[in-house]
Amino acid sequence: MTQFLQYTLQGLAAGGFYALAALGLAVIFGVLGVVNFSHGACYMLGAMISALLLQHFGLGFWPALVIVPVIMFVIGVLVERLLVQWLLKLDPLYNFLLTFGLTLLTVDIMKRQFGVSSLKYEVPAGLTGRVSFGSVDLSVYQMFAAAFAVLVCLAVWMILTKTRVGMIVRAATEDPERSRALGINVARWVTPVFGFGIALAGLSGVLAAPYRAINADMGTNFIIILFAIVVIGGLGSILGAVVAGFLVGLVEAYGQGYYGQLSQVLIFVLMAAVVLIRPAGLFGREEAA
């Protein structure tokens, strides 16, 4: 029983992190309709930039938590203005291929520049050690990462659903023609949302830096799990991404605890089951599918 509780706790902690990592993917899809394959590469850039900030400027985890998302936001805006926007009107496959190409390019450039060995990064002071809850315990950092991630998810959800800005963004993207007729500058909102999604990927990269290997390949495997999460949760659904993030975290932890090498396969079994029963995902809009 203790063992089970311990696995559950670890699953929830991993799930919080997954939720944040998948959130940007969900936001970009929900608002722009772009399947952003480069999300894993942006996550990698977030972690790499954190490590480089530390190595070259002595800027640690806390400043990185602010600086990295800003840098990634700028990168996101540039990519949207220069590339993504021209393909928005075409079949979504085009932007998918574009972001796939960007991923290959980014990963290889980073490999060329910084090699393939992992970069150094330590757990920030003050977040080391373990915290116990009765018979089970968790590393302080993992708990912090999960709690922080959930707060960010909550904030994003609030912004998109409860504020005027969120309303405009949703209107601009769900019905661009009518929004334009009502005097909304649609293009003005699409770009920052893309940048915002990319910034979220960068932010999850910063959170990953202290407990994951930081190298050019770190996003390559991770993006696959993120896609599984957004498919389970329902593409474009923020609540879906969060719930599915936790589900996947739990499935992975139980898998690791009880079924060993099947732990990753179970995630995809879950995905297949969800898609069979609810093709639009747990929280996807059924009528659109």
Partner: protein, 416 residues
Amino acid sequence: MRHTKMISLAALVASSGLVLSACGSSAGGGPSSDGGKISDDKVVLGLLNDQSGVYKDLSGPNSKVAIQMAIDDYKAKYGDKAVAKKIEIVMADHQNKPDIANSKAQEMYDRDKADIILDVPTSSAGLAVATQAKAKKKVYINIGAGTTALTGAQCNKYTFHWAYDTAMLAAGTAGGIVEGGGKNWSIVYPDYAFGQDMNKSFTAAVEKADGKVQQSIATPFPNDNFATFITKAESSKPDVMGIMAAGGDLVNFVKQFNQAGLQGKTQLAVGLMFITDIHSLGVDQFQGTQFTDAWYWNFDDQNRKWADRFQEKTQTRPSFAHAGNYSAALNYLEAIQAAGTDDADAVVKELEGKKINDVFLRNGEVRAADHNVTHDVYLAEVKSKAEVKEDWDYEKIVKTIPAANAYAAPSGTCTM
């Protein structure tokens, strides 16, 4: 419609994570041209390794520098009496892929007139080149790959294995730690050929030394999150946790092992670790970890002197693979000197059974039976930050494992 398409697209991407790709390799035959004492009037040393991927830092382009050092030493030693007057190096990147290694090896032997191919990390690539060496009847000395198949079922007359293999890593690390009191083990290994091999070798070595493997836990490969695997491995309260992952997965594991509060509590043993791994992650994370090293640059004066020369040319310290490439190239040239020709059969005859003591090999012997080059190896422990006196000063040698204990007897599956 658009939405459905995108869902299937995303699902497709996600499912592709489950698809594995397999690489095939084919062996090609060809004539070997042997004329006169030195074929084509020059000796060509081919260096085939990873110039851009995970093993680049470990060996990569700097091994060319090490081989050049061997050439310089050979020329300095024999001067005008040198049998090989003109010596060249050709180099290629095999990207750790067996099919590329196979075609590059063919090119080297045929087009570049290479008399020998050196290094070739990654077991599958290393085995592909062995097939070529056998077909072309040309010498091949592997340094970078770990598989015992090179000197086992897939051995051949022209292939030698110079630095280390998985059986030696297991005997060194598992045997050494169990003798030191670490009796109960949990082993965590990635579930593919290399990990399964390592798990088998380590389990056998632990049991041979009268230790006990309480759990062997297979993990997916690659894998980012090891938290629950670590909890599970720790649940049997082992003295030692053995991790058989390499590269990024090893880093993930070690970071999460430390965050689980186990550093200094449970002895961490790493199946395959290179000094470049410690360098990239820092001694803090690895402090106290034990592993087997085939050679360490700061072990004694002789090694250090060589490492200083290497550093002058590369601005970095050598890994065991660099020293291994030097030793293999130098002994190959010495064999040519002794044979008076670069004819492969004559050189092989010179090398077989040769006992060697050089900067890399201590109590070394080129075993005639299976061409495995056995030598003393070292059980090393990663220093604490306070103990590190200079860059790359990361290891303290816990003990020297004599060649006879480090290497398994010829397997009997090898027929030349």
